[in-house]
């Protein structure tokens, strides 16, 4: 190998000029001929054959035998890792397994059959049950109000005027916007939601005047006037009528008719003029209002 290296250095001396490899005259003359190189290579002594490690495929065919202790440890590790994976899979699928178990397990025949041996007694019991069910149905039907009542759907912003379970009228409304108004200056907050549940009409007003609460000023970026101040009262914004639900919540009209059908209010139920007139006419003080 040394001979070859020396030869290469001598015969392939390279001059670098202007960033290019340039072969000098000397190197051109002394350039190694392929036949000479082969001769040198043949003279190079071949290294003695050493024991080489087995190739991958050979290793698979003939695995080296592990010491017994190490094999047992390795088996435990491999088994428990796979076992843990299977256990997690079993845990994940446990509800499905249980369903299958319930499906394949044997079950007793129709257990109701076993109650009594006497068919007449069974028939009597069935009649008693029928009467009881009919009684319960009557009792449940009696819950539905006989007088007209109102259902407010806050999800789709619709109203349904009902009477004895039958719909008299369906209309569009606006309900709470779910806006949480925060005033950093006053350290107060208001949530504009229409409350759900059963309410009753507590009062009916014609040409109502709106007594503006604090949030109405804060939302407009205005200073809050003192209670009872004339600035707090505004006529003509609630429509022709207002029906009180309690806790300051009203069913009233609106100036913003294009907003009907959208959740934009501060908690009240806003109706269009026609719907408001119909609701006002049909609902009396004490009439029920169901909001969901």
């Amino acid at each position: 190998m040394e001979q070859l290296t020396e030869l290469n250095f001598r015969k392939f001396s390279v001059n670098v000029a202007y960033g290019k490899k340039v072969m000098t005259e000397e190197t051109k003359n002394n350039a190694v001929q392929p036949s000479a190189l082969q001769e040198v290579l043949q003279n190079v002594e071949k290294p003695a054959e050493v024991e080489r490690p087995p190739t991958k495929s050979e290793a698979i065919k003939t695995p080296p035998a592990l010491p017994e202790k190490s094999a047992a440890g390795k088996a435990l590790l491999a088994g428990s890792s796979l076992g843990l994976f299977l256990a997690l899979l079993t845990l994940w699928l446990a509800p499905v397994w249980r369903e299958w178990m319930f499906a394949i397990l044997p079950e007793s025949k129709f257990a109701m059959q076993l109650r009594t041996t006497d068919i007449k007694q069974l028939q009597k019991e069935a009649q008693r049950l029928e009467k009881r069910v009919a009684g319960l149905q009557k009792k449940h039907a009696a819950i539905t109000p006989r007088l007209p009542y109102l259902i407010v759907d806050t999800s789709e912003n619709l109203i349904h005027v009902m009477k004895a379970g039958e719909q008299l009228h369906e209309g569009v409304c606006s309900t709470g916007s779910y806006v949480l108004l925060r005033s950093a200056a006053q350290q107060r907050q208001w949530m504009f939601v229409t409350p759900r549940g059963m309410y009753q009409i507590r009062g009916k007003r014609v040409n109502p005047v709106w007594a503006k609460p604090d949030w109405a000023f804060i939302e407009e970026g205005l200073p809050v006037p003192p209670l009872g101040s004339p600035e707090r009262f505004e006529a003509g914004v609630l429509g022709e009528y207002a029906l009180e639900l309690g806790d300051g919540y009203l069913i009233h009209g609106t100036l913003y008719k294009r907003m009907l059908g959208m959740p934009v209010t501060h908690g009240c139920v806003r109706l269009g003029d026609e719907d408001l007139r119909l609701v006002y006419k049909n609902l009396q003080i004490g009439s029920k209002v169901f909001i969901y």
Binding site: G83, F110, Q113, L114, T117, I143, S155, Y178, P263
Partner: protein, 289 residues
């Protein structure tokens, strides 16, 4: 490389770490024991024992039941058939009675309740016993356990009281709250007035977990949007994770995991959304199936 060769190569690669087991019998035994023991333990604890101690059947045990096999030997076939028909009729009536009683019980509460009638195919919202929204169930699936209980005439005992909501999981928020900072002055207030209202188009899939081991899953009938599909995937993962977590928690406290009788109903998106938004955190449910 052909597909077959690729398969063989892959198999070789998978089997390779276990080749040392070939020559060692002791290692082989250790491997199989460690492989089987943990999954077997989990299977017994989470599957076999909960089925063996079935809470539904245990609650419905009735001492007045006699041995049918002994009876049928001594009774003519026609009488037995007549009795079977009568018994089925009675079972249906008992379920009706339990359902109505539950609805009456629900009507005593102030909160909004859910009434699911799988026989009529309706899911209604009721306030104080008055139906406020009637939703049509488009499709439903239920646990095999329900059919098993029905065949045994024991379903009515389980349905006789309102189910109370314990946990809920959904693809949509319970309330679409938007936070708005109060404007500093009228100029800022006027600027914010022009903002458009966000239109909510969330898909509605939710699971309600009630007491007495009942799970009600509600799916919307409309196919979900792309983002809705992702949200649904996340929701499914959370649901499965919750089930597994519950089982693990039970095991930690040396208890058996609970098996839930599940019902899955399909409603329109609007109905599903309205029901989910309307139900309070401890809502009651009346069920007929």
């Amino acid at each position: 490389m052909t597909r077959q060769n690729l398969g063989v190569a892959l198999l070789n690669r998978l089997v390779k770490p276990f080749r040392f087991l070939r020559q060692n019998r002791k290692a082989k035994i250790i491997f199989f024991l460690s492989l089987i023991s943990f999954p077997l333990f989990i299977f017994i604890v989470t599957v076999v024992l909960p089925v063996a101690q079935n809470p539904f059947e245990a609650a419905a045990e009735d001492e007045t039941f006699e041995n049918f096999e002994a009876l049928s030997d001594s009774t003519p076939a026609e009488i037995a058939t007549g009795r079977l028909e009568l018994a089925k009729k009675m079972a249906a009536l008992e379920i009706d009675q339990a359902f109505l009683q539950t609805r009456l019980e629900l009507s005593k509460k102030d909160s909004i309740g859910l009434v699911v009638d799988l026989i009529d195919g309706t899911a209604n919202l009721e306030v104080k016993g008055v139906p406020v929204r009637r939703c049509k169930i488009l499709r439903y699936r239920s646990s095999g356990l329900a059919r098993r209980l029905r065949r045994q005439g024991r379903l009515h005992q389980w349905l006789a009281m309102p189910f109370i909501l314990q946990e809920q999981l959904a693809t949509l928020p319970k309330a679409p709250i938007r936070i708005k900072e109060a404007p500093k002055d009228t100029i800022e207030a006027n600027e914010s007035k022009g903002e458009d209202l966000p239109i909510e188009q969330r898909d509605a899939h939710f699971t309600l977990q009630f007491d007495r081991n009942l799970t009600l899953a509600v799916e919307q009938a409309q196919p979900p949007s792309f983002s809705g599909r992702l949200r649904e995937l996340w929701y499914d993962l959370r649901r499965n994770f919750n089930e597994a977590r519950e089982a693990v928690t039970a095991l930690i406290y040396l208890q058996l995991p609970q098996h839930y009788l599940w019902i899955e109903i399909e409603l329109s998106r609007e109905d599903a959304k309205a029901i989910y938004r309307a139900l309070p955190t401890r809502a009651g449910l009346a069920l007929r199936l």
